[in-house]
């Protein structure tokens, strides 16, 4: 998958999991500071990523990502 396509997919997953409009998100969005939410949101996001991209993303890895861009990089390493 091309990087740009992966970026868009992950942004879409974040939008869906955190119930934020896609246009308010970018790769620079800080997951904790800008999106907030409990670990339940992160768990929902990881489930989406795993279902749609056929990877196993360890929850601590996902939780350790500062920005959405970091999350994309973490997913890319698994693909």
């Amino acid at each position: 998958m091309e990087k740009q396509e992966l970026d868009q997919k992950v942004l879409g997953f974040v939008s869906s999991a955190y119930k934020k409009p896609l246009e308010e998100l970018s790769l620079e969005t800080n997951i904790k500071k800008d999106l907030g939410g409990t670990s339940l949101f992160m768990v929902g996001l990881v489930s989406l990523i795993e279902n749609e991209l056929d990877v196993l993303l360890p929850l601590p890895t996902a939780a350790g990502c500062k920005t959405i861009g970091d999350l994309v990089d973490a997913v890319a390493r698994l693909m």
Binding site: L40, E50, N51, D54, L56, L59
Partner: protein, 205 residues
């Protein structure tokens, strides 16, 4: 009656099926054996069958105290997955579940989600955070509960409260800096837990 005696008595009336996904751990296996032997629970060891059987023999535990689930048993795994995805509001699809269930922790959680186990007991090899995240991913939160929390039960010599020397403290292990809404949710969960576990009620005697 002492606190633990109350809990033991209650447990023996209706022993729950308890999944132990960290059963190779010496302390976990000991806990599973002793509580199963006393009749408090039905212990289910979840892991690699060959390793578990070898360890049971080495440690001198009678195998018939336990039920055993082999995470390599693909027939049983697929039956669990079929039951799991048939539920409403499940998060993971089949392929993702197959990957996750290679980990005994997730295997045990799926068992619990489809009532093959009543509860999962873990947190000695996995961190508390890992266990809570796995539970949120596979089992989810009870309707009406907004946040995962815990209570600590204290038996304080010299303390005299509405429940004698006993005091429940919520939450001292999971939530840092809860919002007002989260604190309310924690309080509700704490009350539900002490009511279910110990019969505490706000109604005057």
């Amino acid at each position: 009656m002492q606190l633990l005696d109350q809990i033991y008595k209650k447990a023996k009336l209706k022993p729950q099926k308890v999944a132990f996904p960290e059963a190779e751990n010496e302390k976990m296996m000991q806990a599973a054996y002793e509580s199963g032997k006393e009749g408090y629970i039905v212990p289910i060891l979840v892991g690699n069958r060959e390793s578990l059987e070898m360890l049971l023999e080495q440690r001198g535990y009678e195998p018939d105290v336990f039920r055993m689930v082999d995470v390599q048993d693909s027939t049983y795994r697929d039956r669990l997955i079929e039951a799991y995805v048939a539920r409403e509001n499940t998060s993971l699809k089949e392929k993702a579940l197959v990957r996750r269930m290679q980990d005994p922790l997730y295997f045990a959680m799926v068992m619990q989600a489809v009532d093959e186990a009543d509860v999962t007991f873990a947190g000695i090899d996995n961190t508390t955070g890992d266990v809570l995240m796995a539970a949120q991913m596979i089992i989810g939160l009870k309707p009406g509960i907004g946040i995962v929390s815990s209570i600590g039960l204290c038996d304080i010599p010299g303390f005299e409260g509405s429940e004698g020397s006993l005091l429940a403290i919520g939450d001292s292990a999971v939530c840092t800096n809860p919002t007002a809404e989260q604190l309310a949710s924690i309080a509700i969960s704490a009350c539900d837990t002490v009511r279910a576990l110990l019969g505490w009620s706000q109604d005057a005697p």
